[in-house]
């Protein structure tokens, strides 16, 4: 009888695990994407971490748009990998994420593909004039980036994200590195 109770307790305690795993994408599946990467940026911010971070964004008027954006977010996940040579990552390693975005109620709103580069932007609708998240998959010969933001967003927040909002710009540094890598190749 004791054994039955023990087994039942074990089964009941493990039951929520698969459910929890289904709630969102498992970003560990993207780990192999960056195995050969020279530079890695792995950011995982759940709602608790976002709350902590929001507390340090400042109380001034300038940071107000950023604070209001972050307040509605549930999680931010970024995986960005830079490689020294082309062909150091496998495009098929992105398939689990693409498959997830197809299954869950996500809409691909942008897909831009050229010979070497591709960009995809997905949005998750959540009721009238609201979004449940945004996902970006960007791949180049020597760089691959995945951004996954979940939470309560307004469509104009996406425009805000493209703007400044007091966020420091990292784009120029990356461009410099890319130009240098191209020059090294030549």
């Amino acid at each position: 009888m004791k054994k039955i109770w023990l087994l039942l307790t074990l089964v009941l305690s493990l039951a929520p695990l698969p459910l929890a795993a289904q709630d969102g994408f498992d970003f560990k599946t993207l780990d192999k994407l960056g195995v050969n990467a020279k530079n890695r940026t792995n950011i995982t911010l759940d709602s608790n971490m976002l709350k902590m971070a929001a507390g340090f964004l400042g109380d001034d008027k300038e940071s107000e748009p950023l604070r209001s954006l972050v307040d509605g977010l549930k999680g931010i996940y970024v995986r960005s990998y830079e490689f020294t040579k082309t062909g150091q990552y496998n495009e098929s390693d992105l398939e689990p994420l693409r498959a997830y975005l197809k299954q869950a109620q996500w809409n691909r709103i942008v897909e831009s593909k050229s010979d070497e580069e591709s960009s995809e932007v997905y949005l998750q609708p959540a009721g009238a004039n609201r979004l449940g998240g945004v996902a970006i998959i960007s791949s180049e010969p020597r760089e691959v980036t995945v951004v996954y933001i979940s939470g309560n967003l307004k469509p104009e927040d996406i425009a805000k994200l493209s703007g400044n909002m007091g966020i420091p710009d990292i784009g120029s540094g990356r461009k410099d590195r890319k130009a240098k890598a191209k020059k090294d190749d030549e």
């Binding site: 971070a53 960005s80 933001i149 493209s162 909002m165 966020i167 990292i170």
Partner: protein, 114 residues
């Protein structure tokens, strides 16, 4: 014979007459009783065997440990929050860069098609 009887009677009367006790009689009786009664035995317990001493020591130890621990916890929490803030800004910065890049790619492709 009668004379002898009277003497005896007067002697007996004299012997049995009520006599007032001396003034310090009560004090003497009490002192004597106190001297005869067994003294309560005082057992000396070492300080380290007294529960109250242990409780006091534990209280002092806790009082000494808690404030630095709380301060360290607060400091670590602030460091984590600052790190989270740095990661948040970096994540949003990458998001912005990628959204802009996507827009530029779409514009470039559109121009190519046109």
């Amino acid at each position: 014979m009668k004379i002898h009887e009277e003497d005896f009677e007067s002697e007996l009367r004299a012997a049995l007459r009520a006599e007032a006790p001396p003034e310090d009689f009560a004090a003497k009786v009490l002192a004597r009783a106190a001297a005869l009664s067994p003294k309560p035995q005082v057992i000396a317990i070492p300080l380290w065997r007294k529960p109250a001493a242990w409780a006091l020591a534990a209280g002092l130890a806790v009082a000494a440990v808690i404030p630095p621990a709380a301060s360290e916890y607060q400091r670590r929490r602030e460091l984590r929050a600052l790190e989270a803030r740095r990661e948040l800004l970096l994540a949003l910065s990458i998001t912005r860069a990628k959204l802009r890049q996507t827009r530029e790619r779409v514009q470039k492709n559109t121009r190519r098609i046109l």
